[in-house]
């Protein structure tokens, strides 16, 4: 390993340690703000390390992305009302999911081997579901769209068909990666599935859903990490994925409900009416 590569990897280890400490400190009231700062420093270290990679020859695209994204993120987080925080988090989370989808899709040209292709599909799938799911969650919380549960007859059948479609087109993509049709099908169905997952859930349950989607966006980043062969994406992504699931469970417990109860409450409401 070249010395510059080694330096980057060491920086990633430091960043991972800061993420872990940061999450730990975020769990108790007295230390939470320090925890958040630590984790932000970890992120800065990881980004600076990534920028020193010798494979990077053109900084214009990166800089453009940073400026646009940074301005939007900073402005939105300054202007948002305190009461509107959860939907803001949902929106940010959706963008993170979309970013993982794009990283997965962009990594296709460099992908070799079935394993990498599978991780590409996973990052696209989870990223896509996170993106549209978070947008719907945002819409419901901000009441841009109705906050009620949307259910219709045969919804479960439609959802099953989407899942079958996703699995089938994912397999076809891995077998014939050069054919873009299957890639577009996977992207389209993932985006659709994200919508279908969240519309049957009522607005009051949205915080739990956002927490779950947050966990998904971690998993999407983790899958993208496999696709582009990057340790820090895998570590940080799976940290968020795992801690997000636990947090989701804790939030459900605080509401005296189970996770499946939250996720499928819309469906049971329909069947209750018919009884």
């Amino acid at each position: 390993m070249e010395s510059s590569q080694l330096g980057i990897q060491i920086a990633y280890v430091v960043a991972a340690a800061l993420f872990i400490f940061g999450l730990k400190l975020l769990g108790s009231a007295g230390t939470a703000r320090r925890g958040n700062t630590l984790s932000a420093i970890g992120m800065l270290i990881a980004i600076v390390a990534a920028l020193t990679d010798q494979g990077i020859v053109d900084y214009r695209f990166i800089l453009g992305g940073f400026v646009i994204g940074g301005l939007i993120g900073a402005t939105a987080s300054r202007l948002v009302q305190m009461t509107a925080m959860p939907e803001m988090v949902a929106l940010f989370n959706g963008f993170g999911g979309m970013a993982s989808l794009l990283v997965g899709a962009a990594a296709i040209s460099g992908a070799v081997g079935t394993f990498t292709l599978i991780t590409v599909v996973l990052s696209i799938l989870i990223g896509g579901v996170t993106f549209t799911g978070s947008l719907i969650a945002y819409g419901k919380l901000s009441e841009t769209i109705g906050s009620g549960a949307v259910t219709f007859k045969g919804q479960q059948i439609v959802n099953s068909l989407i899942v079958i479609g996703i699995v089938a087109s994912a397999i076809m993509f891995c077998l014939t990666p050069s054919d873009p049709v299957w890639l577009y099908t996977v992207i389209g169905l993932s985006l659709l599935f994200g919508i279908m997952l969240v519309i049957p859930i009522g607005g009051a349950d949205m915080p739990v859903v956002i927490s779950l989607l947050n966990s998904y966006s971690g998993l999407a980043a983790c899958a993208a990490g496999f696709a582009v062969n990057n340790n820090i994406l895998i570590v940080a992504g799976s940290l968020v994925g795992a801690s997000g699931i636990i947090l989701t469970q804790i939030m459900c417990k605080a509401m005296n409900r189970s996770l499946s109860n939250v996720l499928f409450s819309g469906f049971t409401a329909v069947s209750d009416e018919t009884v």
């Binding site: 940073f66 993170g96 795992a242």
Partner: protein, 93 residues
């Protein structure tokens, strides 16, 4: 072999993630969610290498888009979390 190492890392990180979160007071649920969400913006690091290839092809543009979107997640996420926690401090005294 690389894939096996990466899977090891994945497994250990998941265990750490599970262990990190327990007995979080209800008032901290939203900030914790938001803080973890900011970390998931780490995908920006993957996007950086794709956006910097200098080839000006579709993958390059997608990488640049991913950098922008992930930066929103990272910068917005950390700033929003900090705002929430700053409010806590005032209220708690």
């Amino acid at each position: 072999m690389e894939a096996v190492f990466l899977t090891f890392i994945l497994m250990l990180s998941i265990f750490v993630g599970f262990e990190l979160i327990n007995k979080v007071p209800a008032t901290l649920h939203t900030p914790l969610m938001s803080g973890a969400n900011a970390i998931s913006g780490i995908t920006v690091v993957g996007a950086i290498s794709l956006a910097g290839t200098g080839q000006q092809d579709l993958a390059n543009w997608m990488g640049a888009g991913a950098v922008a979107l992930a930066s929103i997640n990272v910068i917005g996420g950390y700033m929003v979390t900090d705002r929430m926690l700053a409010m806590f401090k005032k209220r708690g005294g």
